[in-house]
């Protein structure tokens, strides 16, 4: 489903502030894989997501989604293939519009817009059924403006909007980092649910090493623009947080000193 071949990303090449954010990434995801990504700050995780989403083209290398070469496609062209959830709950929804209106737009992802329709009764019925299983009471508030929802509710809505039109890839960029532990746990459960039920291919960045090992079926560890660990199957099942730290020092011959990772 996702194929990255020899992807490099260099910011400000040749200048004093040159940054090699990605150095030769080779990554292959099969359909339905749920991959967690961890790494210290500056490891290149967000850059990786941006290259997959098309925010900027890679300096070198190829990106293929479902067999289509999308390396040079701009962001809005790829928008139909990718669903993305950011850390900031305010970024994923239109605050002055209602839940129903936001969901309608999400449903129309990459479809031509028509001079009719909008929020129809039929769509409201569909949304009510969609939103009820979330257990957040949103089905009674479909005509409420999103600005009145809490951060957790907004993030749940963003998650729903990102997965509604069955994108090929879902990119979750520390999407629970800004929420309190209880709400974060709830959103992660929902994340698991959405991805499993629709068989979506997903990548999730997290700073929480325990989460990285518990959720999904594969874990990548990044450092300095490279993928240094790729765990799946039994090896991953038996891995612990301490084990991860040890493996890091083995590979890098230096200690893992990122406080956010260690304490997160």
């Amino acid at each position: 489903m996702l194929q990255l071949t020899n992807v490099h990303q260099i910011f400000h090449p040749g200048e004093v502030n040159e940054v090699r954010a990605l150095r030769g990434i080779d990554l292959h995801l099969t359909t339905g894989q749920f991959v967690t990504v961890i790494g210290s700050n500056g490891a290149g995780k967000s850059t990786l997501f941006n290259v997959i989403a098309g925010v900027y083209p890679p300096s070198q290398g190829q990106v293929m989604i479902d067999g289509i070469a999308v390396t040079t496609w701009p962001e809005h062209k790829r928008a139909g293939l990718i669903g993305r959830v950011f850390q900031d709950p305010l970024l994923g929804t239109a605050a002055s519009m209602t839940i129903a209106q936001n969901l309608t737009l999400a449903m129309l992802r990459s479809q031509p817009l028509r001079w009719r329709g909008g929020v129809t009764q039929e769509r409201i019925r569909f949304f009510r059924e969609l939103v009820e299983p979330l257990g957040l009471g949103l089905e009674k508030r479909l005509e409420t403006r999103v600005a009145l929802l809490s951060g957790g509710q907004r993030q749940a809505l963003t998650l729903l909007m990102a997965t509604l039109a069955r994108p090929k890839i879902v990119l979750l960029d520390e999407h629970v980092a800004a929420l309190d532990p209880a709400t974060a746990a709830k959103i992660l459960t929902l994340t698991n649910q959405f991805i499993a039920v629709q068989g979506l291919t997903a990548l999730m960045i997290t700073h929480n090493m325990q989460q990285a090992l518990t959720f999904g079926d594969r874990t990548l560890m990044m450092d300095g623009g490279q993928i240094i660990l790729d765990l799946a199957g039994d090896e991953r099942q038996q891995m612990t947080v301490q084990g991860l730290i040890d493996r890091f020092s083995q590979v890098r011959q230096s200690a893992l000193l990122d406080d956010k990772l260690l304490l997160g």
């Binding site: 962001e75 928008a79 239109a94 519009m97 990459s110 817009l113 028509r114 909008g118 600005a147 009145l148």
Partner: protein, 345 residues
């Protein structure tokens, strides 16, 4: 259109403040309002309705699209220029309506393209277009002012029969009101028609995308919608409405002048702010009604302000026509302050 979490309590005290505000306004200009002749009242309402398209256009660009757009200072006289030129050339005056709409829309598209393609700030882009339109309007009219006193207008087909009906109904005294009353009715119909059309557009999928573009363009792009195209569409509609206003106001006041758009943005913003402050609309259909009412209120306030007489030691100070702009600015200031004080709660 923002509300806080403590909604029910907010609404109660909010209504109290609105009533207080209306009471205060009535106290200040009440005496003047009572002194206003019926014809002046009707004229103020008619003018308000004629300019109501501007309020709708400004609401669309400033509030919905979040795109401060000064093009209206140029698209308004453009609509008037097109209308006056066509009428004096003998074209059926009803053609001026769609043509001035299209003219205004083209101006809006120009601003939108300059802003999105060249990445120029919205204000600068709109000022560039407005400045260029000064010359274009002069070219269209051939001179700086075209009188429309003895020409056919959109009122002509109805004028005589309307006047006769009024005289038959209420005597000769009513005949004086015929002009303003006819304008009021005709403008009222046009404005309501446009409002319904606009409300319907905003409920379509396109309308939702327009709305979202002003609210969260990044999200809209992530959904695969071309936000630049949305801005072009939004400004086209917005300035089309303003061009239409130019055409109807020119025919109402009997002339088209190249400078008649100067400071229009203040009137537009005044109408939007007055409408929002007094009616607190929660969705688009309510907001479009609110800004139309705001424009009518604004024109009534201006008419009343012009009759205020402040007694001074050596005579009394009466506001004259040249003081209108100052009165407008003060009115907008008071409305903004009031609206700001409400939001702080």
């Amino acid at each position: 259109m923002s509300q806080n979490k403590g909604e029910p309590k907010q609404k109660q005290t909010g209504w109290l403040r609105v009533l207080l505000a209306i009471g205060l306004v009535l106290l200040v200009i009440g005496p003047s309002l009572l002194r206003l002749a019926v014809n002046v009242w009707l004229g103020a309402i008619a003018t308000g309705l004629g300019f109501a398209f501007v309020a709708l256009g400004v609401y669309l660009s400033f509030r919905v699209l979040n795109f401060p757009d000064l093009t209206i200072d140029g698209s308004f006289p453009l609509g008037a220029a097109l209308a006056a030129t066509l009428i004096t050339a003998g074209v059926n005056p009803y053609w001026t309506l769609p043509i001035s709409f299209v003219g205004g829309a083209v101006a809006g598209v120009a601003t939108a393209l300059i802003a999105t393609r060249l990445r120029i700030h919205s204000l600068l882009a709109s000022i560039l277009v407005t400045t260029g339109l000064i010359s274009i309007n002069l070219r269209i009219m051939g001179r700086s002012n075209i009188p429309l006193l003895n020409t056919d207008t959109i009122f002509t087909p109805f004028a005589d029969s309307f006047r006769q009906a009024l005289v038959a109904g209420g005597g000769d005294g009513m005949a004086r009101l015929a002009g303003n009353l006819l304008a009021l009715l005709l403008f009222g119909l046009l404005v309501l028609g446009m409002k319904w059309l606009l409300d319907w557009v905003m409920r379509t999928e396109m309308g939702l995308a327009l709305h979202a573009t002003g609210d969260n363009p990044q999200m809209v792009r992530a959904l695969g919608i071309n936000t630049d195209g949305m801005i072009v569409l939004g400004l086209a509609i917005s300035n089309g409405l303003v061009g239409l206003a130019g055409a109807v106001v020119a025919q109402y006041q009997g002339f088209a002048d190249v400078n008649m758009g100067l400071g229009l943005i203040i009137a537009g913003l005044a109408a939007v702010i007055l409408g929002e402050t007094f009616f607190r609309p929660t969705h688009f259909a309510a907001a479009s009604t609110a800004v139309i009412a705001g424009m009518v209120l604004y024109r009534i306030a201006i008419a009343a302000a012009l009759t205020i007489s402040i007694p001074l030691p050596n005579g009394s100070l009466t506001l004259a026509a040249q003081d209108v702009k100052l009165a407008t600015a003060l009115l907008v200031l008071v409305a903004l302050w009031f609206s700001h004080a409400q939001k702080k709660k």
